[in-house]
Symmetry: C2
């Protein structure tokens, strides 16, 4: 099947039937894909406050009312089934990975959709900036840092960043272009000197795949959408659900 040709609604229908459970990189080009985080109503204020205080790692696309699962950014969608994979966490520990969360659904669950870097990566590539992890068909390299997020209630911890090697001559353009997308992490949080933000070894990312850095490049670090999930784990809230890594919710919103 030519996944690339399908509309967001056609893709979601496919994921709903669990006919496809792979990652969503490269599908429905031109449409916004979103990270998802579901927490009980009891934690919703604190999590929303955390996102409001940390807009770079947690750019909100949409927050649903408690118990609702059809977002306004995707008519007819069902957040409980239309993502290729989900992760269930209890007390901060991953307990299960599933392709449908209908049996876990409760009326007090609040769903958050957060911007994902696929949008600004398209803009960088259109400007002629090569992205090594895309060229090599790997997942982007992600690292835990020592950059503290602003805490909110029980949610606290450090930022996770994604790293892309960029040619020195193109770093300024990469900053300007990604800065135009504050709804998907915006401009980088750090350029060069990984040790300064607590990263000891670029060859050993905490999430995703390592890529080589060439002599004419510097590592450029962007706030990463994995941050809210990592913070939720650290904060050991009793229950939450996230999308599985690389398996995003495909919205009807155009980039």
């Amino acid at each position: 099947m030519q996944m690339e040709k399908l509309s967001p609604a056609e893709l979601r229908a496919l994921y709903r039937q669990a006919a496809h459970t792979g990652p969503t990189a490269g599908v429905a080009r031109g449409f916004v894909q979103a990270n998802m985080m579901i927490v009980p109503r009891e934690y919703a204020f604190e999590f929303l406050l955390f996102c409001q205080r940390n807009p770079k790692p947690c750019p909100l696309v949409e927050v649903l009312e408690p118990g609702q699962f059809e977002p306004s950014c995707a008519a007819g969608a069902d957040l409980r089934s239309d993502i290729p994979g989900y992760r269930i966490y209890e007390q901060g520990s991953l307990v299960k990975e599933v392709s449908d969360i209908s049996s876990y659904w409760r009326d007090d669950l609040v769903s958050f959709l957060l911007g994902c870097s696929f949008s600004f990566e398209s803009a960088l590539m259109e400007a002629g900036i090569r992205l090594r992890h895309v060229d090599q068909q790997r997942n982007v390299a992600m690292y835990k840092t020592n950059i503290p997020c602003t805490p909110a209630g029980r949610f606290q911890g450090n930022m996770v960043v994604s790293m892309r090697p960029i040619k020195s001559s193109e770093i300024a353009s990469a900053v300007e272009i990604s800065g135009r997308f504050p709804q998907v992490h915006g401009a980088p949080v750090h350029i060069g000197h990984p040790q300064a933000i607590g990263i000891q070894d670029l060859a050993k990312p905490d999430f995703g795949d390592a890529v080589e850095i060439m002599a004419d490049e510097l590592p450029v670090f962007w706030a990463c959408g994995v941050t809210p999930q990592y913070i939720a784990e650290l904060s050991r809230i009793p229950f939450c659900i996230t999308h599985a890594p690389g398996k995003m919710f495909v919205t009807d919103l155009r980039m």
Copy 2:
């Protein structure tokens, strides 16, 4: 006393002693002033969600943790006493206007600070755009409209706008300049044709003072920070506290 010369901290100390209870227009020029809204923790998620869904009328400056009253935008301040006047609402009705809310304080109260139009008005005036209500030392004219806000939980209703007459030759500049301040309502929501947004008579504002519109001017409408208070009243939540009209919280943030 020359109020204009005092720093934000000096002003807040004065308000704290209730040595001055007048409006804050024109004081601490160059510093951000904020609308305030306090709701019980039970309503905090819905109100935060309302702000997130309606950023033009509800631009968040800061949200405090439940029970806290010292905002990070004003070191040493106490939100319970450092505003010249407060209004107490029960079930959507104004029950009292006071100059100190310490006796009403509860550990479950969540304080929201929201951007106020004083910031973009300074920028307009610096660009040579005259504002009639400032020239005439009146309060800006505000109107209820038929523009629906995006509801969130129990919070729903229409937007309140402020109106400033602007010369036709300066409207484009006024849009560009105010558009640079998304943290204080941003660009106008409507230009000309008051009937189209449900305003029958510009001479009869719902809040503030009417001003004349000259032959070479059009009425220009901006989303107004009175909206969240109006919505909270409409929504008849059991308890909330706001600043009194025109009596803002003076922060240490520079514009």
